[in-house]
Symmetry: C2
Subunit: 303 residues, 2 copies
């Protein structure tokens, strides 16, 4: 039996979002959903998550059609994780209006035996102790990427550092790595993270792009220039989905593959923000993806 | 007689600067000085400016040795433009402590006949009416680049728009173009500027790099990853100096040349911030410059 390529553990949520371009009510979202919606355009992916009885599972049919294995999104008694937020006019800030954890509050997934030897693992933004529990159930994955957020950095730093010691790549926002390390210079901050375990750090900077910090090399990519941003929700998870989706399709992880993975992360993040929910990610064509990869090449190349 | 390649009009100042890495008192600075210190590493340049009797002209000897023609920096009776400022610990903001315009207050340069047909012109950040006066004295320059700042945008917008109608490239910070256009999306904002005259806009984003917006193509470059920033003063003018220094060394201005000019701008900006004043710019070797160009290539390339 083929070894499964990519496992993603994270939230499966309902999001009500308001932006300058419109609003959406109780749309499918969450880190595992955005990640999978991005990754499935490049690779096969199995998201692991939990939802309540209220979850409109049929709204994930589009992902199923794109090969996402939804059998590990477990539906149990209770309410689904619900988040509601509103972005400022220019998308530079957002206000959280409602967070109801629902069944997600006690999410502590059991990894089925047939998935324990997945090659690549994405640990979405959840409690670092839960991320560690997932990792303990895995059978020597080749590549583990974890996300986190300010809340865990301030509330569970010790557990986060314990986790970091066992992950390959930390994927994090620029403001978050500054908070995590207490260092404002990203190059110096990334060296601190390397000393804690991860061999690489991917720093996401929103419209300014992203930087891959290896221990002795780096790769920086600007954001695509977009004039039709609709909703930034899920951009970071979609970036991770493009990044890991690309890598999991490769036999080995070379520097050239990491570079190209950053490109696919950027491209999938750009599609994510051009619609509410996963609307664009789950309908985008292979041609559109390749076109945007070419655009990014043209945007950044010089001789 | 050869047509002079590059003319730069701007301030010639004395700067007292304090940063987390130290302080310097009454060091040479100003837009024309930083621009020339960067450009002279690539091309010949003639700065035009005015200073008072107190100006330590011998501190510009290093530039003269690198071929900068200092004959149009006129020394007159009075005090030199003096600026004093202090940067926050992480360089993210700065406070101006003192601004004494001195003889710069009535700066309205007369362009000598032998310089009126310079091919490339940099209009440093001064009153847009003075920038326009300079331009009126020029004999059909092939490339005019102007800088500006928030103060002129809010105080003299009409004169600034009048100027823009006659320049080829507006070079501006991201916060400034947002203020100028009232539009937060940089792609949309650049289109507004195009409609006012300039065929291109270069948006400088500090550590996040810079973007060249042509009317139907763009080029984005991330900042170099630096762990030894000493003083950000003059970074933007040094970027402009690298940018125009490179272009003025070319017979024609192709897209490939504009791309490479952005690279040289980024590289010269990176040297500028690694010392106080022009200390590094006026001592950097050709090898160090080429090495950093190669670093930028490695930082951004993918296949």
């Amino acid at each position: 039996m083929d070894r499964n390529s990519l496992l993603a553990v994270g939230s499966v949520a309902l999001d009500s979002v308001k932006t300058a371009r419109g609003r959406v009510e109780r749309a499918v979202g969450g880190s595992a959903v955005f990640f999978s919606a991005a990754a499935c355009n490049i690779s096969s992916v199995v998201p692991i998550g939990v939802v309540g009885e209220d979850y409109p599972m049929d709204r994930l049919d589009g992902l199923k059609e794109r090969g996402v294995d939804l059998t590990e999104i477990i539906q149990i008694s209770g309410q689904s994780f619900f988040w509601s937020g509103e972005y400022s006019e220019n998308f530079s800030s957002r206000e959280t209006l409602v967070t109801e954890l629902g069944v997600f509050e006690h999410f502590d997934p059991v990894i089925p035996a047939h998935l324990a030897d997945s090659r690549c693992v994405f640990l979405g933004n959840i409690h670092p102790a839960i991320q560690s529990n997932v990792l303990k159930q895995m059978n020597m994955p080749q590549l583990v990427v974890c996300d986190t957020m300010n809340y865990w950095i301030s509330q569970c730093k010790e557990e986060l550092l314990d986790l970091l010691n066992r992950v390959d790549i930390l994927m994090i926002n620029d403001s978050e790595i500054r908070e995590l390390t207490g260092e404002s210079n990203l190059l110096i901050a990334s060296r601190m993270v390397h000393s804690w375990g991860p061999e690489a750090v991917v720093v996401k900077k929103g419209e300014h792009g992203a930087v891959f910090f290896g221990t002795d090399w780096s790769f920086a990519i600007p954001g695509l220039l977009l004039d039709g941003v609709v909703d930034p929700t899920g951009a970071g998870d979609s970036f991770a989905g493009g990044f890991l989706g690309y890598l999991s399709s490769k036999e080995v992880f070379t520097r050239d593959h990491y570079r190209k993975a950053m490109v696919y992360g950027t491209v999938m993040g750009s599609f994510a923000v051009e619609s509410f929910s996963i609307d664009k990610l789950e309908t985008v064509s292979k041609e559109s993806i390749l076109k945007r990869v070419a655009e990014l090449k043209d945007l950044t190349s010089f001789d």
